[in-house]
């Protein structure tokens, strides 16, 4: 009898552990929204979302500069990181000798394990050094003085591109491996070259997985905080919309929260939670797109 009782107790306990994740997600959503929504009601959704001035001391809470900063830096990071990540994945699956894969794959794992503050510190010196000598050297006559510090969108994007590489490589790798062998064999049997087979057959066949990989990379770049804070300059201004904007110091939504939470008064705190809501919405939209993609693929 006691064995049956034990069985029941264990099952109940395990059930409780299993729904912890569900409760955590709900609690996180509820708390971010409870704390952040009042600011939207008080100052108007449009003024908060699209206001270009962030000046908490005078109760002006426009988070548009941070939205633009986040999108800009993420876009550039993906532009660098996605082709590189997919390229490495193709290389590992199709071309590299096993001996070489055995070096690259652990290296990618290790890249994923390096703490973001260490990336930040590296960026503050190594990458910023290169960028600032560009800004003060050949580009000096085109850039305004405040765009010559080395703290810039490009600096942050380069660091982010490296940080999202493991995500993009690992998931593209799985997608490419999942392509049925017959596709490749059929194409090669027709006399098509290996490279043509890769870019006309294999990559298109793995398309939805590769897109998922890139979207998850976007999610990581959007959400990264510490590495970005340390290299982006943190100026809450909308960067220039031509190519010089690459060299503009900016501020991401994540940085906005992390920088100011320590000393914020009650209303200022709410505005930071509101920034969190916008970030949260970005992530929800991204996750929904991924889920849709995975489902569409499953139906096929």
């Amino acid at each position: 009898m006691s064995r049956i009782l034990e069985e029941k107790i264990v099952k109940t306990l395990l059930f409780i552990t299993a729904i912890t994740a569900v409760f955590s997600v709900l609690l996180i959503g509820v708390f971010i929204f409870i704390e952040g929504l009042p600011i939207f009601f008080k100052y108007g959704i449009v003024d908060v979302l699209f206001g270009t001035v962030w000046n908490p001391t005078n109760q002006v809470y426009g988070i548009w500069p941070m939205i633009v900063g986040t999108i800009y830096v993420t876009f550039v990071a993906i532009l660098i990181g996605a082709p590189m990540g997919v390229g490495v994945a193709v290389y590992l699956v199709e071309i590299a000798h096993q001996r070489i894969s055995r070096i690259i794959i652990p290296a990618v794992e290790l890249l994923a394990g390096i703490p973001s503050v260490v990336y930040g510190l590296f960026g503050m010196f190594a990458v910023r050094g290169v960028i600032s000598s560009l800004e003060r050297g050949p580009l000096a006559e085109y850039l305004p003085a405040n765009y010559q510090t080395g703290y810039s969108i490009l600096t942050a994007a380069i660091i982010l591109a490296v940080m999202i590489l493991p995500t993009i490589i690992n998931i593209s790798l799985d997608a490419l491996k999942a392509v049925p062998r017959e596709y490749k064999e059929g194409s090669l049997a027709l006399g098509v070259s290996h490279w043509q087979t890769i870019y006309k057959v294999l990559v298109p066949a793995a398309k939805s997985g590769i897109i998922t990989a890139v979207i998850l990379g976007v999610g990581r770049a959007l959400g990264e905080t510490m590495a970005v804070i340390m290299v982006i300059g943190n100026t809450p201004l909308v960067p220039a919309m031509d190519w010089t904007g690459l060299f503009a110091p900016a501020r991401s939504m994540t940085a906005n929260i992390a920088l100011e939470m320590g000393y914020a008064g009650p209303e200022h705190q709410q505005a930071l939670f509101a920034t969190g809501i916008v970030l949260f919405m970005f992530i929800i939209v991204l996750n929904s797109v991924t889920t849709l993609l995975v489902r569409r693929k499953a139906r096929k």
């Binding site: 049956i4 069985e7 099952k11 306990l13 395990l14 059930f15 552990t17 299993a18 912890t20 994740a21 955590s24 997600v25 996180i28 708390f31 971010i32 590189m84 390229g87 490495v88 290389y91 590992l92 071309i95 590299a96 690259i104 652990p106 290296a107 290790l110 890249l111 394990g113 390096i114 703490p115 503050v117 260490v118 990336y119 930040g120 510190l121 010196f125 190594a126 490296v162 070259s193 290996h194 490279w195 043509q196 890769i198 998850l216 959007l222 959400g223 905080t225 510490m226 804070i229 340390m230 994540t254 929260i257 992390a258 939470m261 930071l272 939670f273 969190g276 970030l279 992530i283 996750n287």
Partner: protein, 280 residues
């Protein structure tokens, strides 16, 4: 036809270049941090207290804080994460409930760490202050638990799935209960895989900064209890680099972090290899 061959040669050369570049980037980052910071590391640096806001002295409180935080987080997260994996893999058929739990786990994995920080701040630091002591190791650990949960659940589930069904059936046929089978047969078999997940989670806690910036308090004092504030090595690195401006201390701390992460990753890889051997 010559064109096709040439194109392929160029393309393959480019792709090999990318593969090489990835490894070089890693070597460059680790080499740069170690070359700047390794000379800072000595017995005194590791065992003495910081002076002048961390611009002089050592990093002892940050080491203690890291150990406290990792320990507390893992003690709470391990039973929850492994338990959830057991429930999902051993006790339920696929259904609405399990797909909801899986969805929530996926969603948790995608939430940015600063959002975890906001949540931890509003819930554990402010609302539950009488229990958690406000900014404290406990508040930060509970926040950390929600962050590492997806990793533990996912890796434990993989490990459990890899245990062959014949083991389960054989044991049940001998008249043992389900829980006895799991406890004395399934879990020990899946253990290397589960431990790999736990080690990866430790790495995540060691490297995390944004969430702890809002929940751990960041004091330089050595904590006396879980209700005291503290700072981890990562948090210390950020604070001395950005607030104190003591770059030699920042690089020293970064070098210690890199060494820690290398040890953690190598252990995880070694365990994972053993796991693969066991099942093949």
């Amino acid at each position: 036809m010559n064109n096709v061959v040439r194109n392929q040669k160029i393309a393959f050369a480019c792709l090999s270049g990318l593969g090489l570049l990835t490894v070089l980037v890693l070597i460059f980052i680790i080499g740069y941090i170690l070359s700047q910071g390794v000379s800072m590391i000595n017995y005194e640096f590791l065992t003495s207290n910081p002076r002048k806001m961390g611009s002089e002295g050592g990093i002892f409180p940050a080491i203690v804080g890291t150990l406290y935080l990792v320990g507390t987080t893992m003690i709470i997260a391990t039973p929850i994460g492994v338990g959830a994996a057991i429930y999902l893999n051993e006790y339920t058929a696929r259904g609405k409930l399990t797909s909801m739990i899986r969805f929530a786990t996926e969603a948790l994995a995608g939430i940015p760490s600063i959002v975890f920080g906001l949540f931890g701040f509003a819930f554990f630091v402010i609302l539950l202050e009488p229990i958690t002591g406000g900014w404290s190791i406990l508040s930060a650990s509970l926040t950390g638990v929600t962050m590492v949960l997806p990793t533990i659940v996912r890796t434990s589930e993989e490990a459990l799935k890899a245990v062959p069904d014949t083991l389960r059936e054989g044991s049940l046929a001998l008249g043992t209960t389900k829980w006895q089978t799991i406890k004395s047969l399934i879990l020990p078999t899946a253990m290397p895989g589960i431990i790999t997940g736990l080690i990866l989670s430790i790495g995540r806690v060691v490297g995390e900064t944004a969430a702890f910036l809002l929940t751990l308090g960041g004091t330089l004092l050595i904590p006396n209890s879980l209700l005291d504030g503290s700072r981890t090595l990562s948090l210390h690195l950020y604070m001395v680099a950005m607030e104190t401006g003591a770059m030699d201390m920042a690089f020293g701390t970064a070098a210690v972090l890199i060494v820690l992460i290398l040890i953690i990753n190598l252990t995880a890889t070694w365990l994972f290899r053993r796991l693969i051997k066991r099942f093949s």
